[in-house]
C-alpha cells in the first residue's frame, strides 16, 4: 500500500465514496455523445460523401522513405461505426458500472468523437474548402500547446503533492517567457534562456514558498496576487525595456531537432522525434517527476508531507524543507515551460500566455494530481486549445467559443464529481505549524 492511499486524518465532507450514480452519469453522457455522432454526423450525411485522411505534415518535404498514403473513407459508414462504438462503450459503462478506468474510457470517447467530427467537417462533397484532414499536422500543432501545458501541470503536481497550492503557474509562465525572450534574443541561445527561465520561475516559486511556508500566508491569495503582479510587471517592463531596446526582444524561434531515422516513422516520427529540444526535455521530465514522486524515498517524503505533515514530521521529515524544495523546483519547471512557450512564439508581448497557466492547473486537477493523469489531460486540453485557434482551417461548425470553454467546463465537471472523482492531497493548501 502506497502512501498515496493513506486515508486523511481529518475526514472532510468532500472525501466520500463514489456514489454509483456518477458512473451512470458518465455512461449516459457517453451514450448521448454516441447517439449524436451516429445521427447528426453519420446518418445525416449523404452516403456518397467521403473523407480523406492524410498522414504527412504539409511542411516537411523529407517524409520518405516511410510514407503513408491518403486514407479515404466513406463518411457515412465511418461515422455510423464510430457512433456505434461510442454507444457500445457507454452501454458497457452503464451495464457493468466498472470501478476503474471510467475516465480512460471517457478520454477514448472524446478522441473518437473528435475524429467523427473531423470526418464530418471535411467530407466531400461538403461545405468545407478543406477536403482532407492532416492528422499528423493536427497532432504536431497541438503538441506545441500540450508541451507548455505539461510543463505547467508538472509544476503543479510538484507543489501540490507537497501540500502547497500553486495557483501562480501562470505567473511562472509569464516570468519564464519574459526572461527567456530577452536571453534568447541577446545570446541567440535557448540553452541560456532555459537556465534563465529556470531561475526566474524558481524565484517566483521561492517567493510563494517563503510567504506560504515560512509565514503561513494564504497560498491561494499569494498565488493569485503573484499572477496579477507578474502580469503587471511584465507589461511594465515590456514598455520600459523592450520598447526602447527592441534588440532585447527580437523574437527568434527555436528550430526543431530531428532525431535521425526515428523521425521518418509516419505519424509518430513528426510528433515525437522531430520537435524542439524543450519537447524532449518535457518527455524526460514526465518520467523524472513520476519516478521521483512515486519510486524514490524522497517522493515518499513529499507525498507524506502533502497528505499528513504532522505524521511526516513525527518520523523526522523536515516538512518546511521538503515544501521549500518542491515549490522552488515546481516554479522552476513552470519557468522553463514559459521559455518553451516563448521558443515557439518568438516575441514576448504582455498577456501572451493568455491563461495557459490556468489550463495547466485545470489539467493537473483533471489528472488527479498525478503526472500521468495530468499528461493525458494536457493532451486533451492542448488539442482543444489548438482546434479552437485553428477552427477556420478545418471549418468545423462549432463555434470557437464553445471549444475554448471545453477545458474549463470539463474541469468544473470533474471537481464537482460529475465525471469521475478527484481528491487532492489531504494537506494541500494547509499551512503547516509545527507542534
Amino acid at each position: 500500500m502506497s502512501v498515496e492511499e493513506l486515508t486523511p486524518a481529518v475526514d472532510t465532507p468532500s472525501v466520500r465514496k463514489v456514489p454509483v450514480g456518477r458512473t451512470r452519469v458518465i455512461g449516459v453522457i457517453i451514450v448521448v455523445i454516441g447517439l449524436f455522432s451516429l445521427i447528426a454526423l453519420g446518418l445525416n450525411t449523404s452516403s456518397r460523401a467521403h473523407s480523406a485522411l492524410t498522414f504527412s505534415p504539409v511542411d516537411i518535404l523529407t517524409n520518405a522513405p516511410w510514407h503513408l498514403g491518403t486514407l479515404t473513407l466513406l463518411t457515412f459508414w465511418t461515422n455510423v461505426i464510430l457512433g456505434l462504438i461510442m454507444i457500445g462503450v457507454g452501454l458497457e459503462v452503464l451495464w457493468r458500472q466498472p470501478r476503474r478506468g471510467v475516465m480512460g474510457r471517457f478520454g477514448f470517447i472524446s478522441v473518437l468523437f473528435l475524429l467523427a467530427l473531423l470526418f464530418w467537417a471535411v467530407r466531400t462533397p461538403g461545405p468545407s474548402q478543406v477536403s482532407f484532414i492532416d492528422l499528423t499536422s493536427i497532432l504536431v500543432g497541438s503538441s506545441e500547446v500540450t508541451m507548455v501545458l505539461i510543463f505547467g501541470s508538472l509544476s503543479g503536481v510538484m507543489c501540490e503533492r507537497a501540500g502547497v497550492v500553486n495557483i501562480a503557474i501562470e505567473g511562472q509562465f509569464i516570468a519564464g517567457a519574459f526572461v527567456g525572450a530577452s536571453i534568447a534574443s541577446t545570446t541567440s541561445n535557448y540553452f541560456y534562456a532555459a537556465i534563465g527561465g529556470l531561475v526566474a520561475g524558481g524565484i517566483i516559486g521561492w517567493i510563494l514558498a517563503f510567504l506560504a511556508v515560512r509565514y503561513r500566508s494564504d497560498q491561494i491569495i499569494v498565488g493569485v496576487v503573484l499572477v496579477t503582479m507578474l502580469s503587471g510587471l511584465s507589461s511594465y517592463l515590456n514598455l520600459q525595456i523592450f520598447t526602447p531596446y527592441p534588440k532585447l526582444n527580437t523574437g527568434n524561434v527555436l528550430g526543431n531537432f530531428a532525431i535521425p531515422l526515428l523521425d521518418k516513422i509516419p505519424i509518430i516520427g513528426p510528433v515525437f522525434f522531430n520537435q524542439s529540444a524543450f519537447f524532449y526535455l518535457m518527455l524526460l521530465l514526465i518520467g523524472g517527476v513520476s519516478f521521483a514522486l512515486f519510486k524514490t524515498r524522497y517522493g515518499l517524503h513529499v507525498r507524506a508531507v502533502g497528505e499528513h505533515p504532522h505524521a511526516a514530521a513525527t518520523v523526522g521529515i523536515n516538512v518546511a524543507r521538503v515544501r521549500y524544495i518542491n515549490v522552488v523546483l515546481g516554479g522552476a519547471i513552470a519557468g522553463v515551460g514559459g521559455v518553451a512557450f516563448i521558443s515557439q512564439q518568438g516575441q514576448f508581448q504582455p498577456g501572451i500566455t493568455s491563461g495557459l497557466g490556468y489550463i495547466a492547473l485545470a489539467a493537473m486537477i483533471f489528472g488527479r494530481w498525478r503526472p500521468s493523469g495530468a499528461v493525458v489531460a494536457c493532451v486533451l486540453f492542448g488539442m482543444s486549445v489548438y482546434l479552437a485557434d485553428n477552427l477556420q482551417t478545418y471549418n468545423i461548425p462549432i463555434s470557437t467559443e464553445i471549444l475554448t470553454m471545453f477545458p474549463y467546463i470539463i474541469t468544473i465537471f470533474v471537481v464537482s464529481g460529475l465525471v469521475g472523482r478527484v481528491r487532492a492531497p489531504a494537506a494541500d493548501g494547509l499551512p503547516y505549524q509545527a507542534g
Binding site: 497550492v165 496576487v225 496579477t228 511594465y236 525595456i241 491563461g355 486537477i365 481528491r423 494547509l430
Partner: protein
C-alpha cells in the same frame, strides 16, 4: 473574521497611547506600513528599470560627484513619478490655487478626482461583494467573470429594450445584478451540493464567461449593427448613468456613485445589523460552531455566492452604464481586471464596508494616477498594478511586516480565510 467575534470588546481593553498603537500590531498600522513597503518596491522598480537612472548609475566610478548625482537622478525620477501620480489622481495644488483665486478652471482642477471616483465606483461595489464572501470564509475569485456577465446582460437590457429613463436605469441595473447572480449561482450551488472547491470552479468559470463574452458581442443580437468587430450595441441614453455635473463639464463622475453608496449601506446593514450577516460571519469565523448552532451551511454558501455575484454583476453594469456605454470582446478581461483588483481591495480593506471604500479610493487613485504618470514621465502605468499587488502581498503576510518594522505584540493573522485547502 476571527477577531470580530472572539476578541475582548474595546471598552474592556486598556487604553493605549497613540505611540504605543503605532508601534503595535494594529491592522490599520499594518496596512499603512504595507502601503509604504509597496511604494518602496515601486520606487526600486523605477530605479532599476528607467534608462535615464541606469545611465546615471553606470557612471558612478567616473568622477567623485557621480554617486551623488546618480542618487539625485534616482530620487528625481521616483519623485516625479509619484508626484504626477498624486496630481493626476487627486488634485494638482497649483491648479487648485488658480481655481480658488480666480474662480476659473474648476473643471480641469476637478478632473483628476472625478476620474478617481469614476474608477472607484464599480470597484467599491465588486469589492464589497468579494469582501462579504471573504467574511463568510469563501473565496470568490470569479468576481471578474460575474462582472462580465453582469455587463453583458446589462448591456443587452440597456440597448435592446427601450423604455423611459425612470424605468430603464433600474431595469438595466437589475439585469446586471441578474447576470451576476446567475454566474454566482454556479460555484455556489456546486460547492453546496457537491463540495466542489469554489476557487477552482470560479477560476474555470471566469474563462467560460470570457468565451461567452466574445460569443455575445459577435452575435447578431448584441453586436453593434453594421460592425464586424467585437463591439456591442450602445446603451440607450435612457439607460446610461449620466454625469453628475452634466455632460458639458467634461467630468465623468456619474450618478453611479449613488449606487455605490447604496451598496455600502446595504453591506453595512447586512453584515452588522441583519441576522443573515451574523450567520455569514459566524460561518466564516468558525464553521463548526455555525453548524452546531443550527445554521444551514449549504444555504449560507449559496446565498453568499448569490449576493457576491449579484454585486459583481452590478459593478459590471455600472462600469458600462457610467463610462463606455458599450462592451467589447476584452471587457474587464485580464489579470488586472476589476474582479482581481477587488480581491486585493477587499483584503486591504479587511473586508469591512468602510475599509473597502477607503482602499478602493486608494487603488483607484493609483490606477488613475498611473495613467497620468505614463503620460507625463513615460513610466508605464502598469507600475500601479505592481504596487497594488505588492501592498496586498504584505497585507496578507502581517508577520513579515511585523518583522521588517520590528513591531511589538503577538502576530495576528489578518487573512485566515481560505487556508483550508482544496479538500474543504
Amino acid at each position: 473574521m476571527s477577531d470580530s467575534v472572539a476578541t475582548v470588546p474595546d471598552a474592556i481593553k486598556p487604553r493605549r497611547h497613540l505611540l504605543h498603537r503605532i508601534g503595535s500590531q494594529d491592522p490599520i498600522v499594518v496596512a499603512a506600513l504595507a502601503l509604504v513597503l509597496g511604494f518602496i518596491v515601486g520606487a526600486l522598480i523605477i530605479i532599476t528599470t528607467t534608462p535615464a537612472v541606469l545611465d546615471a548609475w553606470r557612471g558612478i566610478f567616473h568622477s567623485w560627484g557621480a554617486p551623488g548625482h546618480a542618487l539625485k537622478v534616482s530620487f528625481d525620477n521616483v519623485g516625479a513619478a509619484y508626484r504626477t501620480m498624486f496630481t493626476g489622481s487627486i488634485v494638482d495644488p497649483q491648479g487648485f490655487w488658480h481655481s480658488l483665486t480666480t474662480g476659473k478652471g474648476w473643471d480641469a482642477t476637478l478632473t483628476p478626482i472625478s476620474e478617481t471616483l469614476t474608477y472607484a465606483t464599480p470597484l467599491v461595489i465588486v469589492s464589497i461583494g468579494v469582501g462579504i464572501a471573504f467574511q463568510t470564509g469563501i473565496f470568490n475569485i470569479g468576481a471578474n467573470g460575474q462582472a462580465v456577465l453582469g455587463g453583458i446582460i446589462g448591456t443587452a437590457a440597456g440597448s435592446m429594450i427601450h423604455m423611459p429613463t425612470v424605468v430603464h436605469i433600474p431595469f438595466t441595473l437589475l439585469a446586471g445584478i441578474a447576470g451576476g447572480v446567475i454566474s454566482g449561482a454556479v460555484p455556489g450551488v456546486l460547492k453546496a451540493l457537491t463540495g466542489a472547491h469554489e476557487v477552482i470552479v470560479t477560476i474555470m468559470f471566469n474563462y467560460v464567461l470570457y468565451a461567452f463574452l466574445l460569443f455575445a458581442v459577435l452575435s447578431t443580437a448584441l453586436q453593434q449593427p453594421g460592425q464586424q468587430n467585437d463591439i456591442s450595441r450602445t446603451l440607450d441614453p435612457s439607460a446610461q448613468l449620466a454625469p453628475i455635473f452634466g455632460a458639458k463639464s467634461g467630468l465623468r463622475v456619474s450618478w453611479g456613485v449613488l449606487v455605490a453608496v447604496a451598496v455600502v449601506f446595504f453591506a453595512w446593514w447586512l453584515l452588522d445589523r441583519s441576522s443573515l450577516g451574523f450567520e455569514f460571519r459566524v460561518t466564516g469565523a468558525n464553521p463548526q460552531a455555525a453548524r452546531a448552532s443550527g445554521m444551514n451551511a449549504r444555504i449560507i454558501v449559496i446565498v453568499v455566492f448569490l449576493i457576491s455575484g449579484g454585486l459583481a454583476g452590478l459593478a459590471g453594469v455600472v462600469q458600462v452604464a457610467s463610462t463606455t456605454h458599450y462592451i467589447d470582446g476584452v471587457f474587464l478581461i485580464g489579470n488586472a481586471g476589476i474582479g482581481f483588483t477587488a480581491i486585493t481591495v477587499a483584503l486591504l480593506g479587511r473586508n469591512r464596508p468602510m475599509g473597502i471604500v477607503w482602499s478602493s479610493l486608494l487603488f483607484a487613485a493609483l490606477g488613475v494616477g498611473g495613467r497620468a504618470m505614463q503620460a507625463t514621465t513615460g513610466i508605464p502605468l502598469d507600475l500601479a498594478t505592481v504596487i497594488q499587488s505588492a501592498v496586498v502581498l504584505f497585507v496578507a503576510t502581517p508577520v513579515l511586516v511585523k518583522e521588517i518594522f520590528r513591531l511589538r505584540g503577538a502576530p495576528s493573522q489578518s487573512v485566515e480565510l481560505a487556508t483550508k485547502g482544496w479538500n474543504s
